[in-house]
Subunit: 331 residues, 3 copies
């Protein structure tokens, strides 16, 4: 795998899930695979689980880690090509990405959407600049539209908890929130469930449809109770509007899942990527109940990241050396 | 030792001091003890010595370290059980602590008091939440009421410098300051001195008594000169009022120790946990004089942390694996 | 080498350049040299390349790294000797430096000038305090007046790209900028070029002369085109006024290098330390052209730092042990 930014970067999703499960069972088996290799983690936005789990994954594989909050520890980045840089941005992404690519064998980058301009966000402007300029394998640590490390961990968690003799019914259920959130986790969950051959039902208020590029093949059901009927897994997540871009849906309080609304499910497991607003997105009773998988999902972030890093390391990323830099200058 | 949050977590204080001294003499003897283990250091408040010394201690034991400023790098934490999370707190400590516990074999947490509500601070609300929800050994990196890593380092420093043939006279002397400071270092120093069988005299302005839970057994002497008479060690520290909770004592300028006021001591060594306000808490002449132990105390922070980590590692903290996570879900 | 703060700390500049080139060719040959040694990186100002490249260099040599933003993660530092610390500075550099020196075998410190008081900046007040109080080898990560790690990397880059049969013509060309920048990179570049026996021409608007202590021996030429004639390397850099201290030169827009103004050179290579303001300091056409060395310079920062660290490690910095601390107390 060259990059890891969407499910389409993965040749064999099932093999990657199996790898993650293997690594979870034997986390120290590859502790020298990453010897002398450096993972750079660059955050343009806050991070807890992603920061820690990816760092831990790299350490378990014997890699060096360089982690940095780009704007706060370094300089504000200019993204615009052709910009005359006489404002407050001290460094262009062309130089920053090129330099980071030289210091690291693999790069992780977190860059949230601004939720102001759909075209800009869905063009994945920042991520694409890094992909283009850093000449090194890139892992998305959550981009404007997708969060593939989360989705891989979700798939691993479902693999551990699914009924063995039949396909599970998986439901993605929109949840209320006090803020306007990105669509990234939801887009990504849909993309990965569908690409891995699962059946997915998505339920949300009318008008809150996600971008069809990710949900094509899923069943859209506006009646939450109908959607939840016989569900095995319910993935709970807020997102702001894709069509009325970035606007929050404010009249959805009755969309919060509770033990009562879960009665129609097949004793479904509850999933959420965290952080979660208790009793806003999801009732505390469900979060603290015996069917919750939220901690398991977070734990599996380590093994999802390990599987991706292992795959990249085994693909033979170029060692940092004089030859690499020459290549860059020539390019 | 399961946790390290107070002297009462330690079965044998003298053995722990001996361990620290051994580790200081031979700091590389256990460089593989922590192989494949992860220490997480989570800061809700600023830190210099604690951050660096604990990180170094873990590295000397071969551990991986994940360090993070919780609020600034991640999300603001909700502590209240049952809170409807529709405000500015994005994540509940229940989830955050559970997740951190899954990523780490041992967790360190720094959480200062707010100095507004005595009951809240002295209930150690934040620390207790982490102890309860993270299912992993926890080391206090200074909590609302105690700073045990500092006190252990202080005890190690006294062990290195004490007269061999008799009990030393140890005095804790209140010092002026421009801000209202926690009582944690002072509470903790008293607790550890008394628990290790030392005799302790505490001197401070009337009304500035510390919480008796920590000072029971110490001699309280309001006359500083009387307290200092024949002292071997003088520990200098400001604290805000425990009884008129969080209020600074503003008329105590004459409590600042100087070479003059030290004349009645037995050529006493000067101790302070740092950072210190020169010529406010303590005269520069004493800090720069030959009797100061402040740098030695700071250096011993490394070996105190090593002794605690070594003890926990040898107690056999569970390896991070699938079984650990299952336990969490069930719990 | 005891410290690394200026070219004058280096006994043999050419040997250090050779060392860096050797390390670049074989970056893993000394991966155990730094075993059990700790490098502390302390930032009083922002950093990207320096932070990452120095950390990576230390990791490649097997060292432990402790990195910290001093003011933000820790406490604000008081620098004034004899200060009564009743203001907003919580810790004096005397204690901070002494403590850091005890935790680390080698210390790196970044401390920019304030550009308000020439005497204060050129006395290298902060750096000198660390040199004096931390009792440990110190590496400048860019100080008020010099940036030796950058200059060493620049010299390595010139060694890789110079004509073999004759001395190259090297030109340092002042560039416009929207902010008032330090003179450190320019002072340092001049110092290193001249100390290594190169010929240097410096071109800038009249009145923007650098401090003669660093430029003595260079040719000063106010006519940029004359200076550029037959140049092999053009180092582009803004600096604020040394004589009218800290003032930016605001009427220098025509000093920005473009493909047109480069025509008189000997197909010169373009150098810049980054971050660079595109189309303000330097035309994007040149930055993106085939003669740019800016990425090569950034890559060579790793090997420059490795060469310095290797030299210090081989000089036998004292191991962190009880003896070291005793020495400190006595000193």
């Amino acid at each position: 795998m060259k990059h890891f930014t969407t499910v389409h970067d993965v040749a064999n999703v099932q093999a990657l899930v199996s790898d993650a499960l293997q690594l979870k069972a034997n986390p120290y088996d590859y502790s020298t695979l990453g010897k002398n290799k450096t993972l750079g983690l660059f955050f343009l936005d806050p991070s807890l689980r992603t920061r820690l789990s990816t760092q831990k994954a790299a350490q378990l594989l014997g890699m060096h880690v360089l982690a940095m909050n780009m704007d706060r520890d370094g300089w504000a980045l200019e993204l615009e090509d052709g910009a005359v840089m006489n404002g407050d941005k001290a460094e262009h992404v062309r130089e920053a990405a090129a330099v980071l690519g030289q210091y690291c064998d693999i790069i992780g980058i977190r860059c949230f959407p601004k939720l102001a301009d759909k075209r800009e966000d869905y063009s994945e402007r920042t991520l694409v600049k890094f992909l283009h300029h850093c000449k090194t394998p890139v892992i998305s640590l959550e981009s404007a539209t997708l969060h593939p490390l989360q989705s891989l961990a979700d798939l691993v968690t479902i693999a551990e908890n699914r009924p063995q003799n039949r396909k599970p019914k998986i439901v993605l259920s929109w949840a209320p929130h006090v803020k306007a959130l990105p669509q990234a986790v939801s887009n990504s969950f849909a993309e990965w469930m569908l690409a891995s051959g699962n059946e997915l039902t998505i339920t949300h208020p009318e008008g809150m449809e996600l971008c069809e590029d990710y949900t094509r093949g899923a069943t859209i059901e506006y009646d939450q109770q109908k959607a939840l009927h016989d569900a095995d897994f319910v993935y709970v997540k807020n997102w702001s509007s894709y069509h009325d871009y970035g606007k929050p849906f404010t009249k959805g309080e009755n969309w919060m899942l509770s033990p009562e609304s879960m009665k129609v499910t097949n004793n479904a497991k509850i999933m959420h990527c965290l952080p979660v607003r208790r009793d806003v997105e999801l009732s505390a009773a469900l979060l603290d109940g015996k069917n919750t998988l939220v901690a398991a999902q977070a734990a599996n972030r380590v093994y999802a990241a390990m599987a991706v890093l292992k795959n990249m390391l085994e693909s033979g990323t170029p060692a940092v050396s004089g030859t690499k830099q020459k290549e860059f200058q020539a390019g």
